[in-house]
Symmetry: C2
Subunit: 316 residues, 2 copies
């Protein structure tokens, strides 16, 4: 615990904005108001820490998402990196860059950040608020772990698993860009991702060794694990769980899933996982000592798929 | 220590940019490449953590500073918050938002970040790189402390000290705005601030209890301590060390000094401090139980000074 309670600030417009945010965060806010947050890390645990930036018109579009949803997604994306390490979530720092005219309307952004913190069971330890011509959020998430999951820990003989069902976020973005109907199931996966913290701890406790969260796309992130571990990963496209109405190839190319890819020498009990978390865990492939990289197959044949689909609404 | 060495990344433009930065950081970079950095915090110490954003045309102007200086200042500003807690610096995470056309020119930005990390004796543990229409840097700095200095720890009877000599950064900015000559001593204080980590540890070990770093301005930051501690702080303007050619009132209103204000019940040895660090430590006032706030005097008379001067090149 940091020193509790709300510390008084001096006068000024920035401090009014900060006070307003802290009031909205309520009991989620911990020790905000000194130059730095102070946090006890449980003994014999390592600190796990990650930072993630979301920029208006690059990572989100304000005509597609409410400010609450923007805050929720950016915060969940950062916390998801802790899940990928098998870490317990502890808290976040929030760096907000906001156009001056929008400060009065940003309560919903704070509410979305708070909603993600509550969902993940983490607290808000402070941050920075600055002016900019572009709205952006940088969320630094931190937690603790004794036995981390690592990208470089996949080994020949490991089974490969994924949580969840793929393709919703990319299909939602594609439809929004094309002006075609967005299925509610796609939109929900796009606006309401989950940081799989508890799921990762469960898997780590049952033999999982390597993990990554699917932010760039299932194929692209599998390639990161294969490269870091210097192994070949063979994935069966036919076994990847895919949302209704989504092409399987698009589903493994699409990003912003925030599901987990896990590898384990010991088979994981997918039924027990689903009963525990209400989310699927699916074996989709295996690890070998072949040429490092990802091989994707369907009906026993190799497919040649680019790791990523279109770079959706990114600038330039 | 996190797991050492450079982890292989998958393909893609962003990863080329990250690899390029990591190569430039060399041995400063620690454990970059997994979803989160893993750090051991010394036993019985707390983690101290802070985040700070600098935005182009708000916190810096590219026609006033080189990219190296921009990186150095933003990083030093974040690390300075650790000094204000009396923490030992451990490392930083870097979130860079860069216009796509400028990525090839950002080596110097990375070099400035690295220079600040070396000066403070901290390592680079990772970060995030994203595209934006505006260049911005969010630096998250972390360290450890057993006995933190706190804003709310000033007590009646404490002496008030400041490190360094004031007024340089604000005078440099004023002259740059007005197109008048910038003294080299002003410019040096503007582009080359120091995070007073070792100085804070020295003072904490000799009785200092409250501290803040001077980012908003000496008067404004003293007001933060007075408000947090619920005390009155009386400062003697005539004792504040001021740069040549700078009006003392402007010197106590000007921000971005990154010097420390400290309070201590036990008098601090200012001569020993100067011999040790080559920087002045000056007693400038005292703390009492009067109405909370800052009282500033000159030649025994109360002055009525706004805590901050003009809000220099901020937007809107």
């Amino acid at each position: 615990m940091t020193h509790g309670g709300e510390i008084a600030f001096g006068p000024g417009e920035e401090f009014r904005f900060i006070r307003r945010l802290i009031r909205r965060f309520g009991s989620l806010a911990a020790g905000i108001g000194d130059d730095a947050a102070l946090i006890h890390i449980p003994r014999d645990n390592m600190l796990a820490m990650t930072t993630d930036t979301a920029v208006d018109n690059v990572h989100f579009r304000r005509d597609w998402l409410t400010l609450d949803e923007i805050g929720y997604r950016a915060t969940t994306a950062a916390i998801s990196d802790l899940a990928a390490m098998g870490a317990s979530g502890m808290g976040i720092l929030i760096a907000l860059a906001t156009p001056p005219e929008s400060r009065e309307n940003l309560d919903a952004l704070g509410d979305g950040i708070a909603r993600a913190a509550v969902a993940a069971g983490v607290r808000i330890f402070g941050g920075d608020t600055v002016r900019s011509v572009v709205l952006s959020l940088t969320i630094t998430a931190f937690g603790n772990t004794r036995d981390p999951l690592r990208r470089d820990a996949a080994r020949a003989g490991h089974h490969v698993y994924v949580t969840g069902v793929f393709g919703g976020p990319a299909a939602a973005v594609r439809a929004l860009l094309d002006g075609t109907p967005v299925l509610a199931t796609w939109r929900d996966r796009f606006v309401n991702p989950h940081a799989r913290l508890r799921e990762a701890l469960w898997a780590a406790g049952r033999g999982a060794r390597a993990a990554i969260d699917i932010s760039d796309g299932l194929l692209a992130d599998a390639a990161h694990v294969a490269a870091a571990s210097n192994v070949q990963m063979t994935l069966d496209l036919d076994r990847v769980p895919v949302m209704e109405g989504v092409d399987p190839v698009a589903a493994v190319q699409g990003g912003e899933e925030y599901e987990l890819l896990l590898t384990s020498a010991i088979p994981l009990d997918c039924d027990a996982f689903r009963r525990r978390f209400g989310v699927s865990l699916t074996a989709i492939g295996s690890v070998s000592d072949g040429e490092p990289g990802v091989v994707i197959t369907s009906r026993g044949k190799h497919l040649d798929i680019e790791p990523r689909g279109y770079d959706h609404f990114r600038i330039a």
